[in-house]
Amino acid sequence: MKPEAQEAIDPRWLVTVEDLPLIARSVVHGFLSGLHRSPWLGHGSEFASYRPYIQGDDLRRVDWKVWGRTDRLFVKECLNERNLRVHLVLDATASMDFGQPSKIRYARAAAASLAYLCLHQNDAVGLTCLGQTAELLLPPSSSNRQMEELLLELVRRETGGHAELSDAEKELGALLEKRGMLVLLSDLLVPAEAFAAFLQTLSARDQEVVVFRILCPEEIDLPLHDAVLMEDVETGAKVRVDPDEFRERYRSSFAKHRSELRRISEDFEADLVECRTDEPLDEILITYLDRRWRTF
């Protein structure tokens, strides 16, 4: 692993999560064999059904035991296991460059971990970044070089701009025509309506969505005391804030927004994983993947 790539990901995390499979809840379209169910029947280890033999079928798939009992030819069909197409969408807007450590650093690490995990189980991983605009950096692929290229893109990518979630959906475009998984790594400091519209579009296109919402403690607790002039890093808007006076209402508003995001996620059957930058990433990933494995 190149040094710059090491900045984006801690190898210890990969060791921790590599034994945990990322299982897609829905069926996926893919070309390579993997852990995920496919809508096509064919080769595989999991039995699906029998059908009468027709001319042209591979004789190796004829179940001769059934022929012996019934004197009729039946072909055994199994569920075909396919690989998963995972789209990592990294929010690299200006708001992600906030906190200590910054949210973008945390998001890069999470993206790298997930990419490593997917590639480890022969899934195809792509990367799209939200900055000034949405930009497809790497199409999904499960090649051997995909991991290295993905890490380099993660490191090179600077924060800035304030692209919308809908831009990512437009950028991915045709790539979303096939079923797959979209993993969004963002702070989701957007209106709940925009998030709902984003999920609705993806749901209509048979995409399973996992959202890692990354926040820093300063955003949640507002641990300031002196009156300051708050400047929005994305829009440049300024507002006079007396934290002691605003704190309770801020927390209340923040909590309300958070509950709305949760509700929207549940409505569209998307996973919403909340991460604090002061919490270890490996624990969050292990907890989430373990829970997902159990509920599969």
Partner: protein
Amino acid sequence: MGLTFSQPWLLAALVAVGIPILIHLLRRRQLTIRRFSSVRFFLEMDQNARRRKRVRRWLLLSLRVLAIAFVVLALAGPHAGAGAGAKSDERLVIVLDQSISMSMDHRWARVAPILRREIASLNANHARVTIIGAGPTPKLLVDARRPSEAIAESKGFRPGFGTSDLTDALRRALSILSRYPAATRRSLRLVTDGQSSQKAQLTGRAIPRNCDFRIQTVTDQSARNAAVTSLKRIGPRQFEATLRNLSADGAVEGELAWRVNGAVARRDKLSLGAGAIMRSRFTLRAAPGGSRQLISALLQTQDALQADNCRSCVEDLEGPLRVVVAKSPAAPGLVPTEFFWVTALQSTAVEMYGTNQAKRAVRVVPVERLAQAIAEAHPDVVIISPTGEEPGSLAGVLESFLRAGGALILFSGDLAQRSLLMRQPWVPARLEALQDTSSWKGDGLQLDLSHREQGPLSVFDADSVRTFRSPAFSRRWTARLKEASQVAVRFEDGQPLVAVRHFEKGRCVWVNTSMDAEWTDWPRKRSFVPWVDGLVHFAAAKLGRKPQPFPSCAAGVAVTLSLPAAKGDRPVTLREWQGGKRFNAQIRKGRLEVPPLPPGLYEVRDHDERTISYLSSYVPVSESDPNVLSAQELAASIPRSPLPLTGGNFALSTGEHSSWIRQGLFLLVLGLLVAEMCYGNRLFA
């Protein structure tokens, strides 16, 4: 309606209104910019709240600016109304003496006409009258009212029970006058009875030269003016009153009433010529030392001023027993250095025997100065050990002392037989021979303790001192008791140790021992001090009667007194002794809270109408001054200040000084406080 200012130069201070604005602007600039991931939550927050906050900030700023502006305007002395500050305006402040002396005779009846006359003399259309009641503290009776209103309100005035502080009242009056514009005609009147004791008060306050000041006295200078000018104690139970007729002409016929605790004990008819001075003496019959009695002398005449004819004496009989001990080089045992019982007698060491009913005031004097000490200290008890070295005149002094009701204790040492004192008729026994009893028994001669419940040994009869053991005596006098003498304590063989004999109103107690260790081992025992204490109490107290101390206070003043009989918290009633007046009072933590009372003797009764103590309220000395001065004499004693009376000094208590400014300022300050409290902002924060 015009608005003028007494001190317009103060308006320059209005630039101070820029201070809060400056602070506001500076604080806005000092805000630090902090980059934040998203301010959408702050922006999404209740926009109304943000608007309210902005409004509130501006409101606070406005309030602060207005507060400073109002204070500056107020200090500049604004005057609203037509002709504000015009010379046609007139302000009159009357200081009315409300001391208890004003209630005597017909003095108060003369107050109303004087007030009416003074107020009616105001000519200005916008005249205002302020009346200050001069009591222990000045009280604003009428606050800048129109003349007609002031006259109507003055009908309800009453004199007080206490003293008056004219200095403080005049200071208050001048302070009020100084708030009016200098152009206004300002007058000050003092209405008083002109007691000469007020002269000292009046000299302490200079009146500015531009203030129209006059004194009106309510005393009739032509009236007969006789009074009791002093009352003092001249003996253990003897009192002397001095009466003077201060009238310029004419004799005073009347009656002097001596009262004990309010009850008339003796009446003397008398006639005092013009300018005459007369003394009258009174002897208290049965008052044990240490008790407290209210003695008063009241001169009752047909036309003398009642205020000046009563004197009370309550202090002279209060306090502890007074004991004078005569020491002599020939009788060292009486005041031995190794056991200074005199000190112990005054200390709380006696309390361990439960005998310290009241502390004793003990004074030790050389025997040659005993006569002088008796004259000065008026003791209740004299202790002496005769040695024959006493001055020859001492016997006569002691006889007078006994006749006046004093108690004499005689110890008899080795030299007692040589003393002339032991041959006096009032001594209970005649000494015969010295008897050495050291070989009487192994431990010496003991006391007969079978009848110790009475007499000096009664102090050892308490349950706590059942273990009292008799001291041993090794020497004594054989003596022959005189007629009418009684033995109070005996030796175990029946011979007297203590004998007592009444002489006139007093009693002489003879003790058949000395305090020397050669006579007895008692001084080395812990029971010795209680024994002497019991002896003193036995000699001084009338059998079957115990001292009843009670507190006293000056009339007309609310005070809190220590009341030994009071415990806990409870309401009580002060009932005038042999009178119908009742006053409610309160006992808190053993202390009696007394309201202002008229002079007299009061019973302190609890809710069961049970008398738990007495309380005397006396006329202050300053109010009993019989000498009255004319208005001219009083005025001559008041200095006139060369400095003029200032004008326009603002104060919130000013009467009709632009009331809207006062109310506005009050509401403004109130609003500012509420705003600061509600919004949690510090002033100028």
